[in-house]
Symmetry: C2
Subunit: 352 residues, 2 copies
């Protein structure tokens, strides 16, 4: 049972044409709590607002926190569609396992999400490129300073109407190939969507931006040799017609968009490889004119073309420096399926 | 200027003989906030209580959070003494730099701490083994879901009267040498006292406990070969009279207690080495009867004797399985200096 308490002070909705990513929130949120006696309990939809928490809550001190990101789209006929939300909740339970957070019931989470989105359906923007961003997250709430697995947790779902993730729209991005800082290494939390992974990346992202690059391309933590991911996106590189992305070896986030991209590419007959790809192989291909395209994939950006890589002080242009044909096809296909322009042949859509 | 607002509802103080670590908090806490316009501002001592925060605050999603731990002791004459608190704040600023959190003024933090402890002096327990545990921490507070460095932060100091960190008192602990999971690797955040480092360790700690061991001894992230630390403690191992601890290479927390232990050992003429120490060297020494002692060091436990190591399914007893002579001497010396029993020849004490 999900108890619903509606706000008495609904907010005015932001203009669709000026949505900054993740800055506006809807009127309501979903919450439930966990303790060892009751399990997950007190599921409720309540007004979105600040909440009270102890300064000794474990999440502030030891970072036991996980999250997910997904999107809902509203069609011209008012139908609300989500893209593989169940896969996000399944991944969230895998992240929970890695962080020693108790499992939740995925079917119940799907019900809660549907009910919350139904409540907030007027908040879903309809303009091209816009959507309702959905952020489920779990935080550890024991008020206690001993390092330990929390006994209590809070699960939230908050919603934010968003435009494009990148302020510059669909302009190709430049990546700084990081060879000092590490995002993840074998045996760590690289494949979990946990809070600490992102804090770890900030310093290198700051460095990349100060040098004029948009984002960081991470190499493996052991040898700083193999291409891993972009922190907020999985990475795909097209060399001589082969579309290559890092294999899931425990250090890479198993992206839902990544998986969808691989599926679409295979379906369309492209050669796709999940394999180790050294930065040397990438740059060698570039010198031979065989580095055709590169792009990142993720829920927030869907597909993001990469036009330039910087490695050890040298810039390398990808392809002709513009969005590649495969990149463009994938963006069109994925967003086309999401928006109902193309057939949902893989059963990815979830209608509310 | 630090504004003081005293509580109107002082709590009853817990019994000294039954203090669980980090579960009881004093009546007041210190807080200040940061924004780019004002810098750190609104320094205040206010009643300890839950506080309001947005569910979209960056700390919950991307883990931008750091902390410190220190202790204050009350002597029989009522004098309140702290141990190297300035070094903790200096380290906190280094952690801040790694996590892209703005620097704070260490002198001002020292003033704030002194004023808070002065306010709460009746909360400092006096029984043997007890102290006032001090937890400064900083969290990112921007209400925003884009992955970014926060523009705003909150700095807290909260206080907790504590007994011994370990429930079993000074009994030697057993360590499970972890060869699958990783705590930190080169280029990561291992040397910063940030929240995410601790969440990363929970899974292996859970495994170690389920197998009957007290804590995890972490090996290096690259080769799983070299002894690093215990997650909540630095590790010292005595082989054939040489006291060895991992060198500070970026993956190890630069412990204040670690530094104090090295200083005391050198002062007393022991052979101390900060160097790479492979687990093979440790176990080989054990087989030859040369593994004299092992102990962990940290603010919470001060010095914690280690009696047993488990590596790949085999148990190895350290020394004679009891607390070693050097371990005992170091515990006596450190706590003796802290409590005023021995001369403070290194200038470590800070009297309030």
């Amino acid at each position: 049972m999900i108890k619903v308490t509606l706000t008495k002070n609904p907010k005015s909705k932001p203009q669709c044409d000026n949505l900054v990513f993740g800055r506006n929130f809807t009127d309501h949120m979903f919450m439930m709590n966990y303790n060892p006696e009751k399990g997950w309990h007190d599921a409720r939809i309540i007004p979105y607002s600040p909440f009270e928490i102890s300064p000794s809550a474990l999440v502030f001190h030891y970072g036991q926190a996980i999250f997910e990101g997904m999107k809902a789209y509203k069609g011209k006929d008012g139908t609300v569609t989500m893209f593989r939300p169940r896969d996000n909740f399944l991944r969230m339970n895998r992240s929970a396992d890695r962080l020693c957070i108790p499992q939740f019931d995925v079917d119940f989470a799907m019900q809660a999400l549907a009910k919350l989105i139904e409540t907030e359906k007027d908040w879903i923007p309809q303009a091209e490129g816009t959507s309702l961003y959905i952020r489920p997250f779990i935080i550890a709430t024991d008020p206690c300073l001993g390092v330990k697995i929390s006994d209590t947790y809070a699960f939230f779902i908050i919603l934010s109407p968003v435009g494009s993730y990148y302020k510059n729209g669909f302009a190709p991005v430049s990546l700084y190939v990081e060879d000092f800082y590490t995002r993840a290494s074998s045996g760590g939390t690289g494949e979990a969507k946990c809070a600490g992974n992102y804090a770890t990346c900030l310093k290198a992202e700051q460095k990349a931006k100060s040098l004029g690059y948009d984002q960081v391309l991470w190499l493996d933590g052991k040898e700083k040799k193999f291409v891993e991911e972009v922190g907020s996106m999985n990475m795909f590189i097209v060399i001589d017609g082969e579309v290559i992305t890092a294999k899931l070896d425990g250090t890479i986030l198993p992206g839902i968009t990544r998986n969808s991209i691989i599926t679409v590419l295979k379906d369309k007959g492209y050669k796709v490889s999940e394999r180790s790809l050294s930065i040397d192989e990438v740059l060698s291909a570039q010198k031979q004119g065989k580095l055709n395209e590169a792009f990142g994939t993720g829920t927030a950006a869907v597909v993001s073309p990469v036009a330039k890589l910087c490695y050890k002080g040298t810039d390398y242009i990808v392809g002709d420096g513009k969005m590649g044909k495969i990149t463009n096809m994938l963006y069109d296909t994925l967003t086309g399926i999401q928006k109902g322009k193309y057939e949902d042949k893989f059963g990815w859509l979830f209608k509310i």
